[in-house]
C-alpha cells in the first residue's frame, strides 16, 4: 500500500481502519436499539 511493505500497511492502516468500521457499525446498532 503506497509503496510500503504489506506487513507495515496491515499494521499501520488496514487493522485500524477495520476497527474504525466496526466502531461505526457497533454505534449504529446500539443507537438503533436505544430507539426501540
Amino acid at each position: 500500500m503506497f509503496g510500503f511493505p504489506i506487513s507495515t500497511s496491515l499494521f499501520l492502516w488496514i487493522l485500524p481502519l477495520l476497527i474504525a468500521v466496526y466502531m461505526l457499525y457497533y454505534t449504529a446498532k446500539k443507537n438503533k436499539n436505544d430507539e426501540n
Partner: protein
C-alpha cells in the same frame, strides 16, 4: 518580522477572542462552565475530541521520531483500540453518570471523597506538566511563524488561550477546537501539497527514504527491537483510553447516543489527520535530515524550506492551533481539578459549607487564570524535547487511572479500597520509574514508566478486591443498571438518557 505570519496569526487570535466573548454570554453556572451545559452534538464533539488530543508535540515531536525510526512509530493501532475501549466500556456509562470531571467519577463510583481528592491532585500535576510543554511548543511555533521574539510570542498566545478559556469555559474550548481543527487540516494539506512533487508522491517518498535509510518502511523500522516496538504501542494504548481530555468530553454530549457517535466518528477523523505525518516524516528524512540539529526541528525546517511565506504561515498556524486546542482542554482539566474537585467536592461539601453557583463560577475562572500563569512561567524553563515531558504526564495518569476507570465500569465487585490502593500503586510505580529514568539509571531503559505503574495497579486492584466488599447497591445501580431509563431520579439529577 514576518508580516504574512503576523496577519494570519492575528486573524487566528481574533477568532479565538470572538469565540471566547460569544461563549461568555452562556456562562450562568458551573455546569455551563465545566461541561458546556451538556449540549454538544456528535460532529462538533468528534472534532473537539480529535483537536484536544492532537497536540503540538504530536506533530513536531512525532514527525521527528518517525523520520528517525520509521512510520510504525505512529500509534494508529493504539488510537484505534483506545477509542474502541472508550466506545464499548466507557462512553455510555460516563455520560449517564453525568459528572464534570474524571475525579467526580472516582468519587461517585467508589464512594470516596479521599479518592476524588487524590485523583484531582494527579490530574492537576499531569495536566499542568503537559500544559507547560504545550504552551512552550506554541510559543516556539508562533515565534517561527511571526518572527516575534519567543518571550513576546509566548506571552501573547498564552494570554489569548487563558482569556477565552476563563471567560467561555468548556463551550469556548470546544468551539475554538473546531476553528483550530480547520487551521490544522488546512495546514497539513498545504504542506502535503508543497512536498508531494519533490517527493514523487507517497510511493516515491518510500523509494527515496529506502535509498538513504534501508529498512525505514519495514514493520519494525530502524533500530527497534520487537520488545521496544510492542511496549511503545502498549504504552500509548493505555495512555489514549485514559486521556482525560478525551473521556471527560463524554460528559458534554447532549445524550448517550451522541457520546457514543462522537467516539465512533472521532477515530476516522483522527486517522485522516494524523496519517499526513507519515508523508512529512518521509519528506523530513529525504529532504532536510542533514540540515536539522535535532529530530524535533524536522517539521518546521521542512515548512521553512519548501513552502512560500504565505503557506508556511498557514502550516505553522496549523501547528500552533494543534497546541492551542490541547492547552485549553488541559487548562480546563487542571482548573476543574482544583476548583470543582478539591475546593468544592473535597473541602466545602464534606464540611457543609454552602456557596452560591456565582461563587463557584468565579473561583473556576480565577483558578483557570492562575494555572495559565503557572504554565507561562513554566514554559520559559522546560526541556526541549516536548514529547518526553508529555510522556511522563500520560504515564502518571495512565498508570493511576486505567484500572479504576476501566475495571470499575466493567466489574461490579471492584471495591473502594481496591481502586484507591490500585491508583496510588500505579502513581507511585510510574512516578519512581520516571524519576529514576531522569536520574540516569540504565535499568529504567527496559520499559516506559507507565508499564511498571500499570502492572502494580493491575495486581493491586485484583488482590484487594478479593478481600474487600464492593460498594453499595445504590451506587452500583448508577453504573450497572439493566434499564438505565429508570436512573433518572432525584438522587441522580444529572442523568439524561
Amino acid at each position: 518580522m514576518k508580516i504574512t505570519g503576523i496577519i494570519i496569526f492575528g486573524l487566528f487570535l481574533a477568532l479565538m477572542i470572538l469565540v471566547g466573548v460569544l461563549s461568555s454570554k452562556h456562562q450562568k453556572n458551573t455546569s455551563d462552565f465545566w461541561v458546556g451545559s451538556r449540549g454538544f452534538g456528535k460532529f462538533v464533539l468528534a472534532i473537539a475530541i480529535v483537536a484536544s488530543i492532537m497536540h503540538g508535540g504530536t506533530l513536531v515531536g512525532g514527525v521527528g521520531m518517525m523520520a528517525a525510526k520509521g512510520p510504525t512509530v505512529l500509534n494508529n493501532i493504539s488510537f484505534a483500540i483506545g477509542f474502541l475501549i472508550v466506545l464499548v466500556f466507557m462512553a455510555d456509562k460516563l455520560r449517564r453518570f453525568g459528572g464534570y470531571t474524571l475525579p467526580d467519577y472516582m468519587g461517585a463510583r467508589y464512594e470516596s471523597i479521599k479518592f476524588q481528592a487524590f485523583s484531582a491532585i494527579v490530574v492537576m500535576v499531569a495536566a499542568i506538566a503537559t500544559l507547560i510543554a504545550q504552551t512552550k511548543t506554541m510559543g516556539i511555533v508562533v515565534e517561527q511563524m511571526t518572527g516575534i521574539p519567543f518571550a513576546v510570542a509566548l506571552v501573547a498566545s498564552t494570554l489569548i488561550f487563558v482569556f477565552y478559556t476563563a471567560v467561555g469555559g468548556m463551550r469556548a474550548a470546544i468551539w475554538t477546537d473546531i476553528i483550530q481543527w480547520l487551521f490544522m487540516m488546512v495546514g497539513v494539506i498545504a504542506l502535503a501539497i508543497a512536498i508531494w512533487k519533490p517527493l514523487g508522491g507517497m510511493s516515491g517518498m518510500v523509494t527515496k527514504v529506502e535509498g538513504v535509510a534501508p529498512g525505514w518502511s519495514s514493520l519494525t523500522g530502524l533500530g527497534w527491537t520487537p520488545m521496544a516496538f510492542i511496549s511503545w504501542h502498549v504504552v500509548w494504548l493505555i495512555a489514549y483510553f485514559t486521556r482525560i481530555e478525551f473521556v471527560t468530553k463524554m460528559y458534554t454530549a447532549k445524550d448517550v447516543k451522541t457520546a457514543r457517535s462522537s467516539v465512533a466518528l472521532g477515530l476516522p477523523l483522527l486517522l485522516i489527520f494524523i496519517n499526513f505525518t507519515v508523508l512529512f516524516a518521509g519528506a523530513a528524512r529525504v529532504l532536510v535530515w542533514n540540515d536539522v540539529a535535532s529530530p524535533d526541528k524536522a517539521l518546521t525546517t521542512l515548512i521553512a524550506n519548501y513552502m512560500d511565506p504565505f503557506w508556511a504561515s498557514v502550516s505553522l498556524a496549523g501547528i500552533a492551533a494543534a497546541a492551542m486546542s490541547t492547552v485549553s482542554s488541559l487548562l480546563l482539566m487542571s482548573g476543574a481539578a482544583i476548583a470543582h474537585d478539591l475546593i468544592r467536592k473535597s473541602y466545602h461539601e464534606p464540611r457543609g459549607i454552602t456557596m452560591s453557583e456565582d461563587y463557584y463560577l468565579k473561583i473556576s475562572r480565577i483558578t483557570v487564570c492562575a494555572v495559565g500563569l503557572i504554565a507561562l512561567i513554566g514554559a520559559f524553563n522546560t526541556p526541549t524535547l516536548v514529547l518526553v515531558l508529555v510522556s511522563y504526564a500520560v504515564a502518571l495518569t495512565g498508570a493511576s487511572f486505567a484500572m479504576p476507570m476501566l475495571l470499575g465500569l466493567m466489574w461490579k465487585r471492584v471495591s473502594s479500597s481496591a481502586a484507591f490502593a490500585s491508583s496510588i500503586a500505579g502513581f507511585l510505580g510510574s512516578g519512581f520509574w520516571a524519576l529514576a529514568a531522569e536520574m540516569g539509571y540504565a535499568w529504567t531503559k527496559v520499559m516506559h514508566p507507565i508499564i511498571p505503574g500499570f502492572i502494580l495497579s493491575f495486581v493491586t486492584i485484583f488482590v484487594i478486591t478479593v478481600f474487600t466488599k464492593p460498594v453499595s447497591e445504590e451506587t452500583l445501580a448508577r453504573f450497572f443498571a439493566k434499564n438505565p431509563k429508570n436512573l433518572q431520579t432525584a438522587a441522580n439529577p444529572n442523568v439524561e438518557v
